[in-house]
């Protein structure tokens, strides 16, 4: 019988060895996937045993996210709090008990929980764990200026829209306001999420959870003329003194494309003989329509790409909370980016209509590029990541996304944009003592007299410290120069003086 016993022993050992293999599988290969699952009740608790890192602005004046300590069953648990109740809510995001996360809370989770793979960090983490001590995550120091952020949010009020302000040299984001906003503390409360979903704002449109600054896609209207003008001047095809005849419309494919209506007149304005500089200052569509026809859609799109269009702008927030600007096409799979120049109407594209959609962040980057002498700054919102002991884990070094236009072109555009504020469509943005360079935009929405109002600018023009983009959705008879420019003005004032 010994032969059978030997075989049986072999079988028994094989069965037990299979258990070792299976355990290894679950604890190594499959481990990550299991930990990431939403219904993982163990991770739900484990996350509370970690003191998530704090999130605050420069100078620690305002804390965007902190923890409330609670003792339970001999364990110290940490529950997330948002003391500012919704300041930069869409950027900070939330982290809930049911482990749904958004914003920086999601994308920076590894740092905030201290599970990032910095060697010394990981080592301390293990020691903390073995010693039973609380694991502390890393703190985030943001570039967002809490005071100005609050101001921007107040200026937007109940209107749907966004304000993005950044440093044109470094790309540091000072303001990222989106309206309507919400209180992230609500998300975890019973019925709170449903309540947040019902927030509508004056436009009655999309959710408060949407970060309009980085995700909101709006027709840029005349603010896109900065890109068209950049292409026109940079290629050398036009100069600021190139002349145009403006009959009040531009003929394209045998049909008339009219200028924007003037609130003081009935029907479209007409300026007669003008040059490109005047066309920019007064935002004359027929001028840009002719520029577009001559340049062709491909050249315009190529320049747009140089400014960062057709790529999701880099930022520390989750990639799915940022959108790329560009022409969009509607397919059965939804809205998709479309860079096929042959499908574009160059005339309408030139003044920012057609199928072009942009995010406020992208338009702020366009203004910042002009301010920065033609180099596109790389936006960032996390200045520093600090260890619990205050040591610097990571510090953001300003970078750029390459040169979009020649320095001379940037200087010319700078002057054009100054003229818009001094005597053109953007006079509402004038600030005593600070020379503002800007561009208005009043995009048609398809509904008569309802516009998407824009203002993008930078200041001071000779030494730019701040670039701003403001967008307001569904403004009835609201022109960019009238409704958006004043917001930009206040934000610039606060940032330059503050």
């Amino acid at each position: 019988m010994n032969r059978q016993v030997n075989r049986l022993a072999l079988l028994a050992i094989a069965l037990l060895a299979a258990l070792v293999v299976a355990t290894t599988y679950w604890q190594s290969w499959a481990s990550g996937g299991l930990q990431a699952r939403q219904d993982n009740a163990i991770q739900r608790v484990v996350q509370f045993t970690i003191a998530r890192g704090l999130v605050y602005g420069p100078g620690e004046k305002a804390v965007f996210a902190s923890n409330r300590r609670k003792h339970q069953n001999g364990q110290t648990l940490f529950f997330r709090r948002y003391p500012e109740h919704g300041l930069a809510a869409q950027t900070i995001g939330y982290s809930t008990a049911s482990r749904s996360q958004a914003g920086l809370e999601e994308s920076m989770n590894d740092y905030l929980t201290g599970s990032n793979t910095n060697l010394s960090n990981a080592f301390r983490h293990v020691l903390d764990k073995l010693g039973g001590a609380t694991v502390h995550g890393n703190d985030l120091v943001l570039t967002i200026r809490p005071g100005v952020q609050r101001l921007a949010q107040q200026l937007l009020g109940n209107r749907c829209g966004a304000v993005v302000a950044l440093n044109p040299q470094t790309g540091a984001v000072y303001v990222m306001a989106s309206s309507p906003t919400y209180d992230p503390n609500l998300i975890d409360e019973p019925g709170g999420y449903a309540h947040v979903l019902k927030i509508r704002g004056a436009c009655g449109g999309a959710s408060a959870l949407l970060n309009r600054g980085t995700q909101g896609l709006f027709t840029p209207g005349s603010t896109f003329k900065i890109v068209t003008a950049a292409a026109a001047l940079d290629t050398g095809a036009f100069s600021t003194s190139s002349g145009f005849d403006d009959p009040g419309y531009c003929e394209e494919y045998g049909r008339k494309v009219y200028n924007a209506g003037n609130p003081d007149q009935n029907g479209p304005e007409s300026y007669g003989h003008v040059d490109l500089a005047q066309g920019f200052e007064h935002s004359i569509n027929s001028v840009f329509c002719n520029v577009g026809k001559q340049l062709g859609a491909k050249t315009i799109l190529d320049y747009a790409k140089r400014f960062g269009f057709y790529r999701t702008p880099p930022l520390e927030t989750p990639a799915n909370e940022r959108a790329a600007s560009g022409m969009y096409r509607y397919t059965k799979h939804g809205r998709v980016l479309d860079d096929n120049a042959s499908r574009a109407d160059p005339g309408r594209l030139a003044f920012g209509q057609w199928t072009m959609l942009t995010t406020p962040l992208q338009m702020a980057m366009v203004a910042a590029t002009v301010a920065n002498g033609g180099v596109v700054p790389k936006p960032y919102v996390v200045q520093k990541i600090l260890g619990h002991d205050g040591s610097v884990v990571r510090e953001t070094k300003p970078g750029n996304l390459g040169r979009a236009i020649k320095p001379e072109t940037a200087a010319e555009l700078n002057r054009l944009m100054v003229s818009v504020v001094e005597g053109g469509t953007g006079t509402a943005a004038q600030i005593p003592g600070i020379q503002v360079a800007g561009k208005t935009g009043t995009a048609e929405t398809g509904v008569d007299h309802v516009y998407t109002a824009w203002f993008v600018c930078f200041a001071p023009a000779d030494n730019p410290q701040v670039a701003v983009a403001v967008v307001l959705e569904k403004q009835v008879n609201g022109f960019g120069g009238a409704v958006a420019a004043p917001i930009a003005k206040s934000v610039v004032e606060a940032l330059v003086h503050g």
């Binding site: 059978q4 049986l8 069965l15 037990l16 258990l19 299991l34 219904d39 039973g132």
Partner: protein, 417 residues
């Protein structure tokens, strides 16, 4: 020999109170060791320390999960060691006299299995009717029935192995009757894990006795056919298989536990899925003993039956891959020593008994841990010597006593010759 106690002493850092358990357990181990030295001096020297170590690991984890259960478990270990000592004392001269009572064991096994079905004392826990409740004592008679069945099979197969190999129906009769009754009873009580275990033991011992792989093949074939029939007929079994193959749903399905629509991972497969999360959380090194997470933020225990069926998940989380791999190694060494006992045994009954007992130990470990690890469908049985559960502890100490008796005799014969 002192390994077990050292292990326990080291764990006592976790809390001062557990030192009492360490001292108590070490004392108990010493008693068991002395009894063994006296009654079975030639017995395999590894079996008792290995069993002690496994029991210690189990007791430590049970203590960590709930000191109250650890106290009860401690009492059961005392009972187990007493039964172990009594068995050694009673059978130290010649355990082979058990052979004479084989039918008694066979009928005893059936009796024990049917006990929970008796009205009044039987009790249903977690959908399976396996418990007997007499006064303050709750007991799973099936655990003892298992040992009785192995004794019966060893004796019967030893006697009839030659004629069985010829395949005459007459000789198969008693075997099939007792075995059939056992299987039927298990299906009636819905105790699938045990059914699988018994069937496995039966086939293994039949193979060892007759050396006929055709019997095994036939048995496996019958098992598959039977399983399919049971799968079709029993919703309980169908649920287990569904949970095994598809623990997750992305859409809501009918949840029989609450009577509402829910995702499967929130309903019937909740326990399996959360147990895997527990294992995954352990990773390579584990969270450390006492630092694992088993309760929700609200204070509820996340995985039901954690210290019985799912103790392996708890251990895997706290000790990590290194720890549980070591634990499985202990099982392997125990199983290898057990088969070694069988190989060196002088007579057929002893060989079959040792092989049966050892295979039972290995297969039971495989069924529960394999179920937890999704190697096979999950069926709730205990992890030998480690899980919380009185009947299981007592039965496994009896199993240990059996192996030591057989090895004592075998070694004594070799030594004497």
């Amino acid at each position: 020999m002192g390994f077990a106690s050292v292990y326990i002493a080291r764990q006592s850092h976790v809390s001062g109170a557990s030192l009492t358990y360490a001292v108590f357990f070490f004392g108990l181990y010493l008693v068991a060791h002395l009894v063994a030295r006296f009654t079975v001096p030639y017995a395999d020297p590894y079996l008792l320390p290995l069993a002690g170590l496994l029991t210690a690991v189990g007791l430590t984890e049970i203590y960590r999960l709930g000191p109250q259960s650890a106290f009860k478990q401690g009492i059961w270990i005392v009972v187990g060691v007493s039964v172990f000592a009594l068995a050694l004392l009673a059978l130290r001269r010649d355990y082979r006299l058990l052979e004479n009572y084989k039918y008694l064991f066979g009928l005893g096994a059936i009796g024990l299995l049917f006990l929970p079905l008796l009205p009044g004392i039987g009790e249903t826990v977690n959908g399976a009717r396996l418990w007997v409740h007499v006064g303050p004592i709750r007991f799973q008679p099936g655990e003892l029935g298992k040992i009785a069945l192995i004794v019966f099979l060893a004796a019967y197969l030893r006697e009839k192995r030659e004629v069985l190999a010829q395949g005459r129906l007459k000789d198969w009769g008693p075997l099939l009757v007792i075995w059939g009754a056992a299987m039927m009873c298990l299906f009636v009580t819905d105790d699938l894990g045990s059914a699988l275990l018994y069937y496995g033991i039966f086939l293994a011992m039949l193979y060892v006795a007759t050396a006929r792989l055709t019997f095994v093949a036939l048995g496996v074939g019958l098992f598959l056919a039977g399983s399919f029939a049971v799968y079709q007929g029993t919703p309980h079994v169908r649920d287990r298989v569904t949970n095994w193959l598809h623990p997750y749903t992305t859409y809501k399905v009918y949840c029989p536990l609450t009577g509402t629509q829910a995702l499967r991972q929130d309903c019937t497969s909740y326990q399996e899925v959360q147990s895997l999360y527990s294992i995954a959380h352990g990773g390579y090194g584990g969270t450390g003993l006492g630092s694992g997470t088993f309760t929700s933020a609200g204070g509820h225990q996340i995985i039901p039956d954690l210290n019985t069926d799912f103790i392996y998940s708890a251990l895997a989380q706290e000790l990590g891959l290194i720890g549980v791999a070591a634990l499985l190694m202990l099982y392997m060494v125990f199983v290898l020593r057990g088969f070694r006992v069988s190989l060196f045994a002088g007579d057929g009954f002893s060989k079959l008994l040792a092989a049966g007992l050892t295979f039972c130990f290995a297969l039971q470990t495989f069924i529960i841990v394999g179920g937890i690890l999704r190697v096979i469908p999950l069926t709730g049985i205990t992890l030998p010597l480690v899980s919380y559960g009185g009947s299981s502890v007592v039965a496994n100490f009896l199993l240990l006593a059996g192996l030591m008796l057989v090895s004592n005799r075998a070694n004594a014969e070799v030594g004497g010759a």
